[in-house]
Every structure is written in C-alpha cells, then in structure tokens.
C-alpha cells in the first residue's frame, strides 16, 4: 500500500512528455494510471508506463473488473491484470464498487448495486477471487451513482462489511460521496463517520457538473470548493491519506493540476496542525 502523506496525479496522455522528458521529475509522490489502457501486448503506451515507473511509484486503477457482477469476475481479465501487476509492481491496485458486465454484455460504465445481503455475498466472493488471482489486497472505490435500489444497509455499511469479509482496503472518492449525497439525499458527513477509517488508503479528488436533475461525475472540472470542504472533513477523521487529483476530460496543462495538488497539500497541512 502507499505510504500516507503522499500526493499524486493521474497520468494522462497529454502529460506523457512532462513526466518523461523533463530534467527534473514532476513533483508528485506517485502517479495513477487506468489499468485497462496498459493491459496490452506491447507498443508505446506500455513503454511509457515502464519509463514513468522508473521515476515514480505507480497505482493501477481499474474500471472493468466488475466486482458486482452476479455471474462472477472474468478470469481472462484477472489474468491480464495479473500480468500487468507482475510487470509494473504497483503500489496499489484498485477498482470500483460497481458492476459493468453481465452474461457477456459489457456496459463500459460503473453501474450501481443494491446494498443487500445477497449483493454483499456476491461482491465479497468476487473481490476474494480477484485478490487471490492478483496475489495481493485491493482497494475498492466508492462509486458516484444516479439510481438507488431498495436495500438492507447504507453504502458505507456495505463497504465496511466488504472490508471486514475480504481484507480489502478503501479508495475514498470524496467527489463521489458529494455527488451521491446530493443525488440521493444522504448526509456526506454521516458517510465519513460510517466508513472504517483504518481501511482508507487512498483518496480521489475530482470535479463534477450539474445535470438536468442530478449531479454528474464528469471529471472534467477543477475540484470545487464543496469537495475541498468535504476533503478537509475527511482528513479530520482519517488523518493524512495518499491523495490524488483525478481529471479524465478537458485535461488542462500539468501546471493547473499541480496547483490543485498544492491546494490538497495545504489542506492536509492545516488539518495536521489542527490535530497536533
């Protein structure tokens, strides 16, 4: 797992040259990549990742494991991910509390789960199988969602039970808590109070957009003040946790993301001073 007190960025194509060509290394403690983009046989993307790995610790963040699939996790996917894990030796391997595949159909979206005892049994079995295949513990990220179903527990209770059953950790996406809380009317602070703090090993920060009726997790905006406020509240409860800025669309010059990362550092410093 990543040490605490670290600050990182998602490695995206427009910034490859910044990360590879500069004489001085980009001032980040780690980078995170989308695993599926590098689960390939060869070529330039894999070469870039190997070279970046020589300069920085790397976290592998997946979007297609589908730990919520009622028909199980895909063994071919796990085999390909294991090959990448063996090649890169990442600090973290993570995916989402969601499903995207059923009976051969792939939605390529992070679809919501009902928080029922049955779903908990299925997700726990799938995460267990994935961790066995990868030979290591994973982090599971809380999703943003636009639909909820009747269930037996809250999302944070579901995540706590999943951690207890499987030994997995949590990747806490603060923006996703904000978006889901606004969309479904729950209290974001109650969420932070409800998750097992000792299991949180990484935090994502991102921006969102206002849709017609719902907040949409677009990752195409700077981190808004509301999410910074919730981040400070999270750090007050969790202590310092490895934090990264996640931008997937409308990607700005690297300097803008580094400035956002400095903001995260400043908030973390403030929380640390307050706790001392």
């Amino acid at each position: 797992m990543l040490d605490r007190h670290r600050f990182g960025l998602g490695l995206r194509k427009p910034h490859y040259a910044d990360f590879l060509d500069g004489e001085a290394a980009v001032p980040v403690d780690f980078v995170e990549v989308i695993s599926e983009n590098f689960m390939v046989e060869g070529g330039r993307p894999l070469d870039v990742l190997r070279r970046v790995r020589a300069r920085h610790p790397v976290a592998l963040h997946g979007v297609s494991m589908s730990v919520g699939s009622a028909d199980g996790v895909d063994p071919d996917y796990l085999r390909r991910l294991r090959a990448l894990v063996d090649a890169i030796d990442p600090m973290i391997v993570s995916d989402h509390l969601s499903w995207s595949r059923i009976e051969g159909f792939h939605s390529h979206d992070l679809l919501p789960l009902p928080y029922t005892h049955e779903a908990l049994d299925i997700v726990s079995a799938n995460v267990g199988r994935a961790q066995d295949a990868l030979g290591r513990a994973m982090l599971i990220e809380n999703p943003s969602s636009y639909v909820t179903f009747a269930g037996d527990m809250t999302e944070w209770e579901f995540l706590g039970a999943l951690c207890a059953r499987t030994g997995c950790g949590l990747l806490l996406d603060v923006n996703n808590i904000f978006v889901s809380a606004a969309n479904h009317g729950f209290d974001a602070i109650a969420y932070l109070d409800g998750i097992p703090a000792e299991r949180v090993h990484q935090i994502h920060l991102a921006g969102h957009s206002q849709g017609r009726e719902l907040l949409i997790d677009t990752h195409d905006q700077p981190v808004p003040p509301s999410v910074w406020t919730l981040y400070a509240a999270a750090l007050a409860r969790l202590g310092p946790v490895a934090t990264m800025i996640e931008r997937d669309d409308a990607i700005p010059p690297l300097g803008e993301l580094l400035a956002e990362l400095d903001m995260a550092r400043a908030i973390a410093d403030g929380e640390r001073r307050q706790a001392a």
Binding site: V40, E41, R44, G104, L111, P114, S145, Y146, V147, N183
Partner: protein, 251 residues
C-alpha cells in the same frame, strides 16, 4: 428482486431501452436511468468516432453517426476493453456502404493501424547485424505486428491524405487487386501497398521457406538475372522498413 434479475433488467434498459425493464428498476429511477443510457451510448459513439477518424472525415459526420447508431443498436459490447468494441465496426460500415468499397477498406486500414499500435514488441533487424549470414539457408522472420489487407481501391492514398490534413484524392479502383501490408516500425504504425510478387514472397518466407529457396522460385518464374535482383531488392526494402524481426542462419 435478485441481483441477477436486476442486472438483466439494467442491461435490457441500456441496450434496448426496454421500458418494462426500466420500470422494474424502481419508480424513482427514471432520471438516473436516463443518465446511464446517455453515458452508455455516448461512450460507444465516442469510441467509434475516435477509432475511425478518417472514415468519419470521408463519409461526413451525419453518415458516420447514423452508421455508429446502427452498430450500437445491433452489436452490444462484449469485451472488458472498449478498444475491442471498435473492431467489428468495419463489418457494419461495409454492410451500409456496400456500393462504396473504399469505405470498408478505409475502416479496415484504421482498425489495422490501431490494433498494431499495442501489438507485440519486436526489435527490427538492422543490416549491421547480418554479417556472415549464409543467405542460401537463412530463414527470415517478420515483426509480429505484420498484417496483410487485400484492397481493390485507393483507400490507402485516401487515408494518407486525410491523416495529413490534405484534400483526399477521388476514389479509384486499382488496375489490379493489391495488398496493403500494415506493421509497426518501432512504436510507429505504418503501411505500404505491395504487389502480388512481394505478398507471395512474404507469405512464403513467413511460412518457413528459406531465402535461398525463394531466390530459386524467382529464378524459375522471372529468370536467372532478374530473380536474385528482385529478391535482394525486397530484402533491402524490408530491412529499411523495419519489417524483419530476425534472420536465422540454418547452416
């Protein structure tokens, strides 16, 4: 509702916009389900548009979006990687634009270039590594990304012009059917239109024929003077193209 039943209904909502399935997901779900449907279709549309930029530029935005919508309706994604979703699109384009064969050929060329971009690595052989080879007994191996694509039109020239931001030439049928060889030179995808003699030579060598035996065949077909010259010329071209991955001297 079991998780399996819920996921089957969600799938039917996404790939068929089935109202009965959507209704079973809950009375309050409608606004959220619209977001997921929009994300699903938007993501697949963007995947096809990014993968087939030259086709889009050639047939125009409206025709492209109509073809992509047809493809999304008929072929739901079946692989964990979005890259795979784009692979079947040339079939859909060929079915829709069957009177314009250059459209399908352009699509197959774009698909070929995209596939080899992340294909297996191989260090190309350079001439300095070949000192002392007994060419009579030498077996030539080509880079693993090498693929052959039969063509009837000037799709390759159209693609090159579009990729360079130039005005593309008018579509033309080639005087004879030809082949476009597609491969990766280092990390750069590339292609070249080759004639039947070169295609046959590559296929024979890839099938295990020695270089000496290839020369023998060419001597039989085009004579003692021209045969070795043609074989040597092709070898020199393959080396400079970064097409040769290894030369094994069986002696």
């Amino acid at each position: 509702m079991s998780l399996l039943a819920l996921q089957r209904d969600f799938r039917r909502w996404l790939d068929h916009e089935a109202a009965d399935a959507g209704a079973r997901l809950g009375p309050q779900a409608a606004p959220g389900l619209s977001v997921y449907l929009n994300n699903y279709r938007g993501q697949l549309m963007a995947c096809l548009a990014e993968s087939y930029g030259a086709v889009k530029a050639w047939i125009g935005d409206d025709a492209f979006e109509s073809a992509a919508a047809t493809h999304i309706e008929r072929r739901p994604p079946h692989s964990w990687t979005l890259d795979d979703y784009a692979l079947d699109f040339p079939d859909t384009l060929e079915a829709i634009h069957h009177a314009d064969p250059e459209v399908g050929e352009l699509a197959r060329l774009e698909r070929g270039l995209a596939r080899i971009f992340v294909g297996k690595d191989a260090e190309p052989v350079v001439p300095a590594m070949l000192a002392g080879i007994d060419w009579e007994r030498a077996r030539i191996g080509f880079v693993p990304t090498l693929t052959m694509m039969p063509v009837k039109t000037n799709a390759a020239a159209i693609w090159s012009a579009l990729a360079d931001g130039e005005h593309p030439p008018a579509v033309q049928f080639l005087p004879d059917p030809a082949t476009v060889a597609i491969w990766r030179n280092g990390f750069s995808p590339t292609f070249r239109t080759i004639d039947d003699a070169e295609r046959e030579a590559i296929e024979a060598l890839a099938g295990g024929l020695t270089f000496g035996a290839l020369c023998g065949r060419l001597v039989e077909s085009i004579g003692e003077e021209k045969g070795p010259v043609l074989a040597g010329g092709m070898l020199s071209q393959w080396l400079s193209d970064g097409l040769v991955a290894h030369v094994r001297d069986l002696g």
